[in-house]
């Protein structure tokens, strides 16, 4: 099943003269957890607001469930649950009453409130005033109100932002659960890479309003599948000179070690020999697959150059 749930075609968006989104072509397959990754200010939230028609796109730029957003907005929004940035919660009402406000707007049976409270594990605190909620509880309440209509697509903007580690784990479990047990497509934005790495099946990387990569998560890791070598030696700067003479690029150098990308493991012995020949003491040679973080930094850095 690879029907597209979200499709954008050449989506541009301006704030006055500032081009916030530049030719965004997203394609979110059904049933995926789609990680939307980018540094702060890259255009993630803007994209999400456009997808929900809080910011108006131009006709034909955005399709959800294969239908044009602008013409079918009410129907489409009935199938989408959204959690955008900071939680939207009436602080003077209890969690249950907050859901009741939204329930009245979307017209689902009263029992649904209890069901979503159970899904987000907020039953015990449902009747507490929302102003006494922790940030994690606020995020879960926001998720609960997004779930009221039992939507096919969830759009979550930085759902783990500001949560403590246990809150993050809980949110992650919830998202996986919703995707796997309830079959929901999830569009998830984040600037936390490890978060996306653990959840997403598909990713898009955005920076300065442009999509830099889009596809499967594994594809991203293979695309830039270089190995990183960490060398610990006694005289670091001298070692760096030697390596530079051998045409290696050093990505990081500090008082104790040198980091450099190498195309192949066979390079390790070459490097070792070169260093030993110059009478340097090599304490450690450590290789590691590049993680998403360095791939991400590489991709977003490329644009600056």
């Amino acid at each position: 099943m690879s029907e597209s749930i979200i499709q954008t075609h050449g989506l541009d968006f301006y704030f006055k003269d500032f081009k916030a989104l530049d030719q965004i072509n997203l394609d979110v397959p059904q049933g995926s957890i789609f990680g939307f990754l980018g540094p702060n200010g890259a255009g993630k939230t803007t994209t999400i607001r456009v997808l929900l028609d809080l910011f108006h796109s131009k006709p034909g730029q955005v399709k959800l469930f294969g239908k044009a957003l602008l013409q079918n907005k009410v129907e489409i929004l009935g199938r989408v649950g959204a959690l955008i940035e900071n939680p939207s919660i009436y602080k003077h009402l209890s969690g249950r009453q907050n859901l009741e406000v939204i329930r009245k707007m979307v017209d689902v049976p009263k029992e649904r409130v209890d069901e979503v409270l159970k899904i987000v594990r907020l039953v015990e605190n449902a009747d507490k005033k929302a102003k006494n909620y922790s940030l994690g509880m606020c995020q879960r309440l926001g998720l609960a109100s997004a779930l009221l209509t039992d939507p096919d697509l969830l759009i979550l903007d930085e759902p783990t932002n500001g949560l403590d580690p246990s809150g993050i784990i809980e949110m992650r479990e919830l998202i996986l659960d919703l995707n796997q047990k309830h079959g929901k497509t999830i569009f998830l934005s984040s600037h936390i890479l490890s978060e996306i790495e653990k959840l997403a099946t598909d990713v898009a990387i955005i920076d300065q309003g442009k999509i830099l990569y889009q596809g499967k998560l594994e594809g991203l890791q293979q695309a830039d599948g270089a190995i990183e070598l960490v060398i610990e030696v006694d005289r670091v700067s001298e070692a760096a000179e030697i390596l530079k003479a051998l045409n290696y690029t050093i990505s990081e150098q500090n008082g104790r070690s040198i980091h450099l990308p190498i195309p192949d493991k066979r390079e390790v012995s070459k490097i070792n020999k070169a260093l030993v020949d110059k009478n340097l003491d090599v304490y450690q040679l450590k290789t590691s697959e590049q993680n998403l973080e360095s791939i991400f930094l590489n991709i977003t850095k490329k644009l600056d150059q």
Binding site: Y90, L93, T149
Partner: protein
């Protein structure tokens, strides 16, 4: 989906969210303010007030409507602030505008609730005023509250105030919807009201000043020729202005980016 059903949903959600808010109390206590003071005046110094004789109900009507008409704009400004700041403060504009209802529906629900609040509080004001008179009449029969009087005036006059208020109320509503800042709409509103007070001293265009329709439209209660439904041009001006402003504010909300 039927537009009427959608609007009903919007309104019932809108009503529900004021549960346990200060504004609900404000809508009840506000209209009780002047009747309670009048009650105290008649109870403590009733004989002095009625020294010239006449119908105490007429006196009470004047004591109620005139100060009420003066204070009411401030009440309206605060209500307009409240119905919008509840969304500003909880970051819920984006929540209510991502529900499966059209933007027009969500906007119209809020306008309706606001208008309803203004209307209800004026009717409450009428009820409280009559109640004050009746209770004083029971406790101090010598003041003459048993005389015949057309008490419908306690409701028709506030209703006229309501109609004349719609104009500037719509301006207050638009400003409060647009700006997160509380001081700005309040400042402009108070400025508008005071500027009317100044220009009404003699400027010939003062009759078009939207913050003065309810004062000019009501006329002088003590005039023997006084008629409730005279000076209707102010009612029409107010309603026309309200229609225009709500339309513009609606277009504004439908087109605007919601943060």
């Amino acid at each position: 989906m039927n537009a009427a059903i959608a609007l009903k949903r919007g309104i019932s959600a809108e009503l529900y969210k004021y549960k346990r808010t200060f504004i609900l109390w404000f809508l009840i206590i506000g209209p009780a303010f002047i009747p309670v003071i009048n009650f105290i005046i008649f109870m403590s110094r009733g004989t002095e007030v009625m020294a010239e004789g006449g119908n105490p109900w007429q006196k009470l009507l004047g004591f109620s409507i005139d100060p009420g008409n003066f204070l009411f704009p401030f009440f309206v400004m605060i209500v307009a602030l409240f119905v919008n700041s509840i969304e500003h403060n909880s970051n819920t504009w984006k929540l209510i505008y991502t529900q499966p209802l059209s933007r027009v529906t969500v906007y119209a629900s809020k306008v309706k609730i606001f208008v309803l609040m203004v209307f209800m509080s004026l009717m409450l004001f009428g009820i409280f005023s009559v109640l004050a008179g009746e209770i004083v009449g029971m406790l101090q029969p010598e003041l003459g509250f048993d005389q015949a009087f057309d008490k419908s005036l306690f409701f028709s006059l506030p209703f006229k105030v309501f109609l004349c208020t719609m104009g500037y109320a719509s301006i207050q509503f638009w400003m409060s919807q647009r700006w997160r800042n509380l001081i700005l709409p309040l400042g402009i509103g108070i400025g508008g009201f005071i500027s009317f007070m100044i220009v009404s001293q003699g400027w010939k265009y003062a009759i078009y000043h939207p913050y003065g329709y309810q004062i000019l439209g009501l006329g002088n209660l003590n005039d023997p020729e006084f008629q409730v439904w005279a000076n209707m041009e102010y009612v029409y001006r107010s309603l026309g202005l309200a229609l225009l402003i709500y339309l513009l504010a609606g277009i504004d909300k439908v087109r605007k980016r919601i943060i």
